[in-house]
Amino acid sequence: MNQLADRPKWNWDVVWEHLPAIWGGMVVIIQATLAGITIAMILGLFLALGRRSERRWISWPFAAFIDFIRSTPLLIQLFFVFFALPEMGIVLGARTSLILGLGVHYATYASEAYRAGIDAVDKGQWEAATALNLGTGTTWQKVVLPQAIPKVIPALGNFLVAMIKDAPLGSSIGVAGVLFVARSIGSQTFFYVETMTMAGILFLVVSVPAALFVQFLERKYGYEAA
Protein backbone atom coordinates (compact mmCIF):
# COMPACT_ATOMS: atom_id res chain seq x y z
CA MET A 1 0.00 0.00 0.00
CA ASN A 2 2.36 2.65 -1.20
CA GLN A 3 -0.51 5.07 -1.06
CA LEU A 4 -0.06 5.26 2.68
CA ALA A 5 3.49 6.50 2.44
CA ASP A 6 2.98 8.83 -0.51
CA ARG A 7 -0.27 10.57 0.29
CA PRO A 8 -0.31 14.05 1.84
CA LYS A 9 -0.57 14.05 5.60
CA TRP A 10 -3.68 16.16 5.85
CA ASN A 11 -6.50 16.92 3.47
CA TRP A 12 -8.54 20.00 4.37
CA ASP A 13 -11.17 19.39 1.72
CA VAL A 14 -12.13 16.17 3.41
CA VAL A 15 -12.51 18.03 6.67
CA TRP A 16 -14.93 20.66 5.36
CA GLU A 17 -16.87 18.16 3.35
CA HIS A 18 -17.57 15.79 6.22
CA LEU A 19 -17.62 18.14 9.19
CA PRO A 20 -21.43 18.53 9.18
CA ALA A 21 -21.98 14.78 9.19
CA ILE A 22 -19.51 14.21 12.00
CA TRP A 23 -20.97 17.07 13.98
CA GLY A 24 -24.37 15.48 13.44
CA GLY A 25 -22.97 12.38 15.03
CA MET A 26 -21.87 14.48 17.99
CA VAL A 27 -25.42 15.78 18.37
CA VAL A 28 -26.65 12.19 18.58
CA ILE A 29 -24.13 11.60 21.34
CA ILE A 30 -25.33 14.65 23.26
CA GLN A 31 -28.95 13.59 22.95
CA ALA A 32 -28.22 10.08 24.12
CA THR A 33 -26.25 11.44 27.06
CA LEU A 34 -29.01 13.77 28.18
CA ALA A 35 -31.56 10.98 28.00
CA GLY A 36 -29.22 8.61 29.78
CA ILE A 37 -28.40 10.97 32.64
CA THR A 38 -32.10 11.56 33.21
CA ILE A 39 -32.66 7.85 33.65
CA ALA A 40 -29.58 7.61 35.85
CA MET A 41 -30.69 10.43 38.14
CA ILE A 42 -34.13 8.95 38.72
CA LEU A 43 -33.19 5.29 38.84
CA GLY A 44 -30.19 6.14 40.98
CA LEU A 45 -32.34 7.59 43.74
CA PHE A 46 -34.57 4.53 43.65
CA LEU A 47 -31.53 2.24 43.90
CA ALA A 48 -30.14 4.29 46.77
CA LEU A 49 -33.36 4.04 48.74
CA GLY A 50 -33.50 0.31 48.15
CA ARG A 51 -29.88 -0.08 49.13
CA ARG A 52 -30.50 1.75 52.39
CA SER A 53 -33.47 -0.35 53.36
CA GLU A 54 -33.27 -1.78 56.83
CA ARG A 55 -34.71 -5.05 55.62
CA ARG A 56 -31.87 -7.21 54.49
CA TRP A 57 -33.96 -9.11 51.97
CA ILE A 58 -34.40 -5.80 50.15
CA SER A 59 -31.03 -4.14 50.66
CA TRP A 60 -28.94 -7.15 49.73
CA PRO A 61 -30.27 -7.68 46.18
CA PHE A 62 -29.97 -3.94 45.55
CA ALA A 63 -26.39 -3.93 46.80
CA ALA A 64 -25.54 -6.97 44.70
CA PHE A 65 -27.05 -5.45 41.57
CA ILE A 66 -25.31 -2.10 42.09
CA ASP A 67 -21.95 -3.74 42.74
CA PHE A 68 -22.27 -6.07 39.77
CA ILE A 69 -23.15 -3.37 37.25
CA ARG A 70 -20.56 -0.96 38.60
CA SER A 71 -17.74 -3.47 38.39
CA THR A 72 -18.30 -4.75 34.87
CA PRO A 73 -17.72 -3.15 31.46
CA LEU A 74 -20.44 -0.95 30.03
CA LEU A 75 -19.69 -2.39 26.61
CA ILE A 76 -20.76 -5.88 27.64
CA GLN A 77 -23.86 -4.46 29.28
CA LEU A 78 -24.71 -2.68 26.03
CA PHE A 79 -24.25 -5.95 24.17
CA PHE A 80 -26.54 -7.61 26.67
CA VAL A 81 -29.30 -5.05 26.15
CA PHE A 82 -29.00 -5.05 22.39
CA PHE A 83 -28.21 -8.70 21.64
CA ALA A 84 -29.42 -10.73 24.59
CA LEU A 85 -32.66 -9.06 25.61
CA PRO A 86 -34.31 -9.86 22.24
CA GLU A 87 -33.79 -13.53 23.03
CA MET A 88 -35.69 -12.92 26.24
CA GLY A 89 -38.49 -11.19 24.42
CA ILE A 90 -37.45 -7.55 24.81
CA VAL A 91 -36.44 -5.94 21.54
CA LEU A 92 -35.07 -2.42 21.71
CA GLY A 93 -33.61 -0.29 18.96
CA ALA A 94 -29.94 0.64 18.96
CA ARG A 95 -30.43 4.14 20.29
CA THR A 96 -32.84 2.99 23.00
CA SER A 97 -30.45 0.25 23.98
CA LEU A 98 -27.64 2.76 24.31
CA ILE A 99 -29.73 5.11 26.44
CA LEU A 100 -30.96 2.28 28.63
CA GLY A 101 -27.46 0.85 29.02
CA LEU A 102 -25.98 4.22 29.91
CA GLY A 103 -28.87 5.00 32.24
CA VAL A 104 -28.68 1.79 34.24
CA HIS A 105 -24.88 1.76 34.38
CA TYR A 106 -24.66 5.28 35.66
CA ALA A 107 -27.66 4.87 37.93
CA THR A 108 -25.46 2.58 39.99
CA TYR A 109 -22.84 5.30 40.33
CA ALA A 110 -25.50 7.87 41.08
CA SER A 111 -26.98 5.65 43.76
CA GLU A 112 -23.71 5.75 45.68
CA ALA A 113 -23.66 9.53 45.43
CA TYR A 114 -27.25 9.73 46.66
CA ARG A 115 -26.42 7.42 49.55
CA ALA A 116 -23.53 9.59 50.59
CA GLY A 117 -25.70 12.70 50.38
CA ILE A 118 -28.49 11.15 52.42
CA ASP A 119 -26.10 9.80 55.03
CA ALA A 120 -24.58 13.26 55.32
CA VAL A 121 -27.86 14.72 56.55
CA ASP A 122 -27.46 15.29 60.28
CA LYS A 123 -29.03 12.62 62.47
CA GLY A 124 -30.70 15.31 64.53
CA GLN A 125 -32.91 16.13 61.56
CA TRP A 126 -34.38 12.64 61.64
CA GLU A 127 -34.91 12.93 65.39
CA ALA A 128 -36.65 16.27 65.03
CA ALA A 129 -38.97 14.71 62.47
CA THR A 130 -39.81 11.97 64.97
CA ALA A 131 -40.35 14.54 67.70
CA LEU A 132 -42.83 16.33 65.46
CA ASN A 133 -44.47 13.04 64.52
CA LEU A 134 -43.98 13.69 60.80
CA GLY A 135 -44.75 10.62 58.70
CA THR A 136 -42.15 8.81 56.59
CA GLY A 137 -43.27 10.47 53.38
CA THR A 138 -43.15 13.97 54.79
CA THR A 139 -39.81 13.32 56.49
CA TRP A 140 -38.20 12.27 53.21
CA GLN A 141 -39.92 14.80 51.03
CA LYS A 142 -39.68 17.88 53.21
CA VAL A 143 -36.74 17.30 55.52
CA VAL A 144 -34.19 14.80 54.24
CA LEU A 145 -34.14 14.97 50.47
CA PRO A 146 -34.08 18.79 50.25
CA GLN A 147 -30.91 18.66 52.32
CA ALA A 148 -29.38 15.66 50.58
CA ILE A 149 -29.87 16.56 46.93
CA PRO A 150 -27.74 19.76 46.73
CA LYS A 151 -24.79 17.73 47.89
CA VAL A 152 -25.36 15.19 45.14
CA ILE A 153 -25.54 17.65 42.26
CA PRO A 154 -21.80 18.11 41.67
CA ALA A 155 -21.39 14.34 41.58
CA LEU A 156 -24.21 14.07 39.07
CA GLY A 157 -22.43 16.68 36.98
CA ASN A 158 -19.30 14.54 36.98
CA PHE A 159 -21.33 11.56 35.89
CA LEU A 160 -22.77 13.58 33.03
CA VAL A 161 -19.28 14.38 31.77
CA ALA A 162 -18.21 10.77 32.14
CA MET A 163 -21.31 9.61 30.29
CA ILE A 164 -20.56 11.82 27.30
CA LYS A 165 -17.29 9.97 26.98
CA ASP A 166 -19.00 6.61 27.14
CA ALA A 167 -21.83 7.40 24.75
CA PRO A 168 -19.69 6.75 21.63
CA LEU A 169 -19.67 3.09 22.66
CA GLY A 170 -23.01 3.09 20.91
CA SER A 171 -21.13 2.81 17.64
CA SER A 172 -20.57 -0.85 18.49
CA ILE A 173 -24.29 -1.50 18.33
CA GLY A 174 -24.91 0.72 15.35
CA VAL A 175 -25.89 4.02 16.89
CA ALA A 176 -24.95 6.75 14.41
CA GLY A 177 -22.90 8.73 16.87
CA VAL A 178 -19.74 10.67 16.18
CA LEU A 179 -17.53 7.59 16.16
CA PHE A 180 -19.79 5.53 13.95
CA VAL A 181 -20.03 8.31 11.41
CA ALA A 182 -16.29 8.95 11.46
CA ARG A 183 -15.58 5.27 10.98
CA SER A 184 -18.09 4.97 8.15
CA ILE A 185 -16.63 7.89 6.29
CA GLY A 186 -13.14 6.67 7.05
CA SER A 187 -13.80 3.22 5.74
CA GLN A 188 -15.32 4.60 2.57
CA THR A 189 -12.79 7.31 1.81
CA PHE A 190 -9.74 5.94 3.65
CA PHE A 191 -9.19 9.41 5.06
CA TYR A 192 -8.90 8.00 8.55
CA VAL A 193 -6.57 10.65 9.91
CA GLU A 194 -8.89 13.50 9.08
CA THR A 195 -12.11 11.80 10.17
CA MET A 196 -10.75 10.37 13.41
CA THR A 197 -9.05 13.63 14.31
CA MET A 198 -12.24 15.55 13.60
CA ALA A 199 -14.16 13.15 15.79
CA GLY A 200 -11.62 13.64 18.57
CA ILE A 201 -11.54 17.40 18.36
CA LEU A 202 -15.30 17.84 18.07
CA PHE A 203 -15.60 15.63 21.08
CA LEU A 204 -13.19 17.72 23.12
CA VAL A 205 -15.06 20.84 22.03
CA VAL A 206 -18.10 19.46 23.86
CA SER A 207 -16.57 17.58 26.75
CA VAL A 208 -14.03 20.13 27.99
CA PRO A 209 -16.55 22.97 28.45
CA ALA A 210 -18.91 20.49 30.07
CA ALA A 211 -16.16 19.54 32.53
CA LEU A 212 -15.45 23.20 33.28
CA PHE A 213 -19.15 23.77 33.87
CA VAL A 214 -19.18 20.91 36.36
CA GLN A 215 -16.21 22.40 38.18
CA PHE A 216 -18.19 25.62 38.40
CA LEU A 217 -21.15 23.66 39.79
CA GLU A 218 -18.90 22.05 42.38
CA ARG A 219 -17.72 25.40 43.60
CA LYS A 220 -21.22 26.86 43.67
CA TYR A 221 -22.82 24.01 45.57
CA GLY A 222 -19.76 23.65 47.73
CA TYR A 223 -20.55 27.06 49.18
CA GLU A 224 -24.18 26.34 49.83
CA ALA A 225 -23.50 23.09 51.59
CA ALA A 226 -21.00 24.77 53.87
Binding site: T72, E112, A155, L179, Y192, G200
Partner: protein
Protein backbone atom coordinates in the same frame (compact mmCIF):
# COMPACT_ATOMS: atom_id res chain seq x y z
CA UNK B 1 -34.44 -22.83 31.95
CA UNK B 2 -31.30 -22.48 29.83
CA UNK B 3 -28.06 -23.57 31.41
CA UNK B 4 -26.22 -21.06 33.52
CA UNK B 5 -23.02 -22.95 32.92
CA UNK B 6 -21.50 -22.99 29.46
CA UNK B 7 -19.84 -25.88 27.77
CA UNK B 8 -16.13 -26.43 28.50
CA UNK B 9 -15.12 -25.48 24.99
CA UNK B 10 -16.87 -22.16 25.42
CA UNK B 11 -15.04 -21.54 28.63
CA UNK B 12 -11.77 -22.45 26.97
CA UNK B 13 -12.32 -19.80 24.33
CA UNK B 14 -13.30 -17.25 26.95
CA UNK B 15 -10.19 -18.01 28.93
CA UNK B 16 -8.06 -17.38 25.86
CA UNK B 17 -9.74 -14.02 25.57
CA UNK B 18 -9.15 -13.40 29.25
CA UNK B 19 -5.43 -13.87 28.75
CA UNK B 20 -5.41 -11.13 26.14
CA UNK B 21 -7.50 -8.94 28.43
CA UNK B 22 -4.92 -9.38 31.16
CA UNK B 23 -2.11 -8.50 28.79
CA UNK B 24 -3.83 -5.29 27.79
CA UNK B 25 -4.66 -4.51 31.39
CA UNK B 26 -1.13 -4.99 32.67
CA UNK B 27 0.40 -3.06 29.79
CA UNK B 28 -2.01 -0.16 30.23
CA UNK B 29 -1.54 0.00 33.97
CA UNK B 30 2.22 0.06 33.62
CA UNK B 31 2.12 2.80 31.01
CA UNK B 32 -0.59 4.65 32.89
CA UNK B 33 1.36 4.52 36.13
CA UNK B 34 4.50 5.89 34.54
CA UNK B 35 2.53 8.72 32.97
CA UNK B 36 0.69 9.39 36.25
CA UNK B 37 3.92 9.69 38.15
CA UNK B 38 5.56 11.81 35.54
CA UNK B 39 2.75 14.24 34.91
CA UNK B 40 1.41 14.22 38.44
CA UNK B 41 4.69 15.47 39.75
CA UNK B 42 5.10 17.61 36.67
CA UNK B 43 2.00 19.54 37.69
CA UNK B 44 3.81 20.55 40.85
CA UNK B 45 7.08 21.42 39.19
CA UNK B 46 8.95 24.62 39.93
CA UNK B 47 9.30 25.22 36.24
CA UNK B 48 6.24 26.87 34.72
CA UNK B 49 6.55 25.24 31.33
CA UNK B 50 6.59 21.80 32.88
CA UNK B 51 3.54 22.67 34.91
CA UNK B 52 1.70 23.97 31.91
CA UNK B 53 2.60 21.08 29.67
CA UNK B 54 1.51 18.62 32.33
CA UNK B 55 -1.77 20.46 32.81
CA UNK B 56 -2.44 20.41 29.09
CA UNK B 57 -1.88 16.67 28.98
CA UNK B 58 -4.11 16.07 31.97
CA UNK B 59 -6.98 18.26 30.80
CA UNK B 60 -7.03 16.87 27.29
CA UNK B 61 -6.49 13.23 28.14
CA UNK B 62 -9.17 13.47 30.81
CA UNK B 63 -11.60 15.17 28.49
CA UNK B 64 -11.02 12.68 25.71
CA UNK B 65 -13.27 9.72 25.22
CA UNK B 66 -11.27 6.53 25.65
CA UNK B 67 -12.96 4.84 22.75
CA UNK B 68 -12.39 7.72 20.39
CA UNK B 69 -8.78 7.87 21.53
CA UNK B 70 -8.52 4.16 20.92
CA UNK B 71 -9.87 4.36 17.42
CA UNK B 72 -7.68 7.33 16.66
CA UNK B 73 -4.62 5.43 17.86
CA UNK B 74 -5.55 2.43 15.76
CA UNK B 75 -6.65 4.08 12.54
CA UNK B 76 -5.14 7.54 12.38
CA UNK B 77 -1.84 7.28 14.23
CA UNK B 78 -0.16 4.73 11.97
CA UNK B 79 -1.11 6.71 8.87
CA UNK B 80 0.01 9.97 10.40
CA UNK B 81 3.43 8.65 11.28
CA UNK B 82 3.73 6.27 8.39
CA UNK B 83 3.99 3.20 10.61
CA UNK B 84 3.45 -0.20 9.10
CA UNK B 85 2.30 -3.32 10.84
CA UNK B 86 0.64 -1.40 13.64
CA UNK B 87 -0.78 -3.84 16.14
CA UNK B 88 -4.10 -3.35 17.91
CA UNK B 89 -2.43 -4.45 21.12
CA UNK B 90 -0.06 -1.49 21.00
CA UNK B 91 -2.88 0.87 20.09
CA UNK B 92 -4.97 -0.47 22.95
CA UNK B 93 -2.25 -0.18 25.55
CA UNK B 94 -1.34 3.29 24.32
CA UNK B 95 -4.89 4.59 24.39
CA UNK B 96 -5.84 3.11 27.76
CA UNK B 97 -2.49 4.03 29.26
CA UNK B 98 -2.66 7.63 28.13
CA UNK B 99 -6.23 7.95 29.38
CA UNK B 100 -5.40 6.35 32.71
CA UNK B 101 -2.32 8.50 33.11
CA UNK B 102 -4.38 11.67 33.18
CA UNK B 103 -6.60 10.51 36.03
CA UNK B 104 -3.70 8.94 37.83
CA UNK B 105 -1.76 12.19 37.53
CA UNK B 106 -4.48 13.98 39.47
CA UNK B 107 -4.40 11.32 42.16
CA UNK B 108 -0.63 11.60 42.46
CA UNK B 109 -0.79 15.37 42.49
CA UNK B 110 -3.40 15.41 45.22
CA UNK B 111 -1.52 12.89 47.30
CA UNK B 112 1.83 14.63 46.99
CA UNK B 113 0.15 17.90 47.91
CA UNK B 114 -1.34 16.30 50.95
CA UNK B 115 2.03 15.33 52.36
CA UNK B 116 2.66 17.83 55.10
CA UNK B 117 4.61 20.87 54.15
CA UNK B 118 6.87 20.31 57.11
CA UNK B 119 8.20 17.16 55.52
CA UNK B 120 9.28 18.99 52.41
CA UNK B 121 10.83 21.73 54.49
CA UNK B 122 12.70 19.26 56.65
CA UNK B 123 14.06 17.60 53.54
CA UNK B 124 15.22 20.93 52.19
CA UNK B 125 16.81 21.72 55.53
CA UNK B 126 18.75 18.49 55.24
CA UNK B 127 19.97 19.62 51.86
CA UNK B 128 18.43 16.76 49.96
CA UNK B 129 18.12 17.31 46.25
CA UNK B 130 14.71 17.59 44.65
CA UNK B 131 14.83 14.05 43.36
CA UNK B 132 16.04 12.68 46.68
CA UNK B 133 13.37 14.56 48.49
CA UNK B 134 10.72 13.11 46.25
CA UNK B 135 12.06 9.61 46.32
CA UNK B 136 12.82 9.22 49.99
CA UNK B 137 10.51 11.59 51.82
CA UNK B 138 7.50 12.72 49.86
CA UNK B 139 6.51 9.80 47.66
CA UNK B 140 6.69 7.16 50.37
CA UNK B 141 4.29 9.23 52.42
CA UNK B 142 2.09 9.91 49.42
CA UNK B 143 1.65 6.21 48.64
CA UNK B 144 -0.97 5.41 51.31
CA UNK B 145 -3.05 8.30 50.00
CA UNK B 146 -2.61 7.22 46.40
CA UNK B 147 -3.53 3.57 46.80
CA UNK B 148 -7.28 3.69 47.47
CA UNK B 149 -8.31 5.86 44.51
CA UNK B 150 -5.68 4.14 42.40
CA UNK B 151 -7.35 0.81 43.04
CA UNK B 152 -10.62 2.23 41.78
CA UNK B 153 -8.82 3.59 38.74
CA UNK B 154 -7.29 0.19 38.02
CA UNK B 155 -10.76 -1.30 38.01
CA UNK B 156 -11.92 1.38 35.61
CA UNK B 157 -9.04 0.50 33.28
CA UNK B 158 -9.97 -3.15 33.55
CA UNK B 159 -13.46 -2.27 32.41
CA UNK B 160 -11.97 -0.21 29.63
CA UNK B 161 -10.02 -3.12 28.22
CA UNK B 162 -13.27 -4.45 26.78
CA UNK B 163 -13.07 -1.68 24.20
CA UNK B 164 -10.11 -3.25 22.45
CA UNK B 165 -12.48 -5.91 21.16
CA UNK B 166 -13.77 -3.23 18.84
CA UNK B 167 -10.39 -2.91 17.16
CA UNK B 168 -10.24 -6.62 16.51
CA UNK B 169 -8.14 -7.62 19.49
CA UNK B 170 -9.13 -11.10 20.66
CA UNK B 171 -9.84 -10.27 24.26
CA UNK B 172 -12.63 -11.59 26.45
CA UNK B 173 -15.21 -9.24 24.94
CA UNK B 174 -14.18 -10.21 21.42
CA UNK B 175 -14.44 -13.90 22.20
CA UNK B 176 -17.93 -13.61 23.62
CA UNK B 177 -19.08 -11.77 20.52
CA UNK B 178 -17.66 -14.59 18.39
CA UNK B 179 -19.37 -17.19 20.53
CA UNK B 180 -22.64 -15.32 20.24
CA UNK B 181 -22.52 -15.42 16.48
CA UNK B 182 -21.68 -19.10 16.61
CA UNK B 183 -24.56 -19.85 18.94
CA UNK B 184 -26.98 -18.92 16.22
CA UNK B 185 -25.50 -21.69 14.11
CA UNK B 186 -24.52 -24.41 16.57
CA UNK B 187 -27.42 -25.99 18.38
CA UNK B 188 -25.83 -26.92 21.67
CA UNK B 189 -24.18 -23.60 22.31
CA UNK B 190 -25.34 -21.50 25.18
CA UNK B 191 -27.98 -18.83 24.80
CA UNK B 192 -26.87 -15.26 24.36
CA UNK B 193 -28.03 -14.01 27.76
CA UNK B 194 -26.15 -16.78 29.53
CA UNK B 195 -23.03 -16.08 27.50
CA UNK B 196 -23.03 -12.44 28.49
CA UNK B 197 -23.89 -13.14 32.10
CA UNK B 198 -20.96 -15.50 32.34
CA UNK B 199 -18.64 -12.93 30.84
CA UNK B 200 -19.95 -10.25 33.16
CA UNK B 201 -19.30 -12.62 36.03
CA UNK B 202 -15.73 -13.15 34.89
CA UNK B 203 -15.14 -9.39 34.75
CA UNK B 204 -16.75 -9.09 38.16
CA UNK B 205 -14.34 -11.63 39.59
CA UNK B 206 -11.47 -9.67 38.01
CA UNK B 207 -12.71 -6.48 39.63
CA UNK B 208 -13.01 -8.27 42.94
CA UNK B 209 -9.46 -9.59 42.69
CA UNK B 210 -8.02 -6.19 41.83
CA UNK B 211 -9.91 -4.74 44.78
CA UNK B 212 -8.46 -7.40 47.07
CA UNK B 213 -4.95 -6.83 45.82
CA UNK B 214 -5.16 -3.14 46.50
CA UNK B 215 -6.75 -3.61 49.90
CA UNK B 216 -3.88 -5.92 50.76
CA UNK B 217 -1.38 -3.35 49.54
CA UNK B 218 -3.10 -0.64 51.56
CA UNK B 219 -2.86 -2.71 54.70
CA UNK B 220 0.78 -3.53 54.14
CA UNK B 221 1.66 0.09 53.53
CA UNK B 222 -0.30 1.25 56.54
CA UNK B 223 1.45 -1.31 58.69
CA UNK B 224 4.77 0.12 57.61
CA UNK B 225 3.56 3.50 58.75
CA UNK B 226 2.01 2.16 61.93
CA UNK B 227 -1.31 3.65 60.94
CA UNK B 228 -4.71 2.08 60.26
CA UNK B 229 -5.55 2.11 56.55
CA UNK B 230 -8.29 4.51 55.51
CA UNK B 231 -11.76 3.02 55.14
CA UNK B 232 -12.11 2.92 51.42
CA UNK B 233 -15.49 2.48 49.81
CA UNK B 234 -15.30 1.07 46.37
CA UNK B 235 -16.54 4.16 44.66
CA UNK B 236 -17.10 4.31 40.95
CA UNK B 237 -16.75 7.59 39.03
CA UNK B 238 -16.42 9.72 42.13
CA UNK B 239 -15.35 13.32 42.17
CA UNK B 240 -12.89 15.02 39.87
CA UNK B 241 -14.17 12.95 37.03
CA UNK B 242 -12.00 9.99 37.85
CA UNK B 243 -13.10 7.35 35.46
CA UNK B 244 -11.75 5.79 32.33
CA UNK B 245 -14.55 4.66 30.17
CA UNK B 246 -15.48 1.05 30.00
Amino acid sequence: MPDLILSPSNYARLMEGLVVTMQVLIGSVILGSLLSLFFGIGRLSQRAWVRRASSVYVEFARGASAIILLFWMFFALPILFGIRGWSPMVAGILALGVNMGAYGAEIVRGAVNSVAKGQTEAAIALNLSNTQRLRHVVLPQAVPVILPPYGNLAIEVMKGTALVSLITLSDLAFEVQKLRVNSVVIADSATTPMLYLNVLAIYFVLAFLIDRVFKLAERRVAAKFGVKPPRRKRAGRPTAGVGVTG
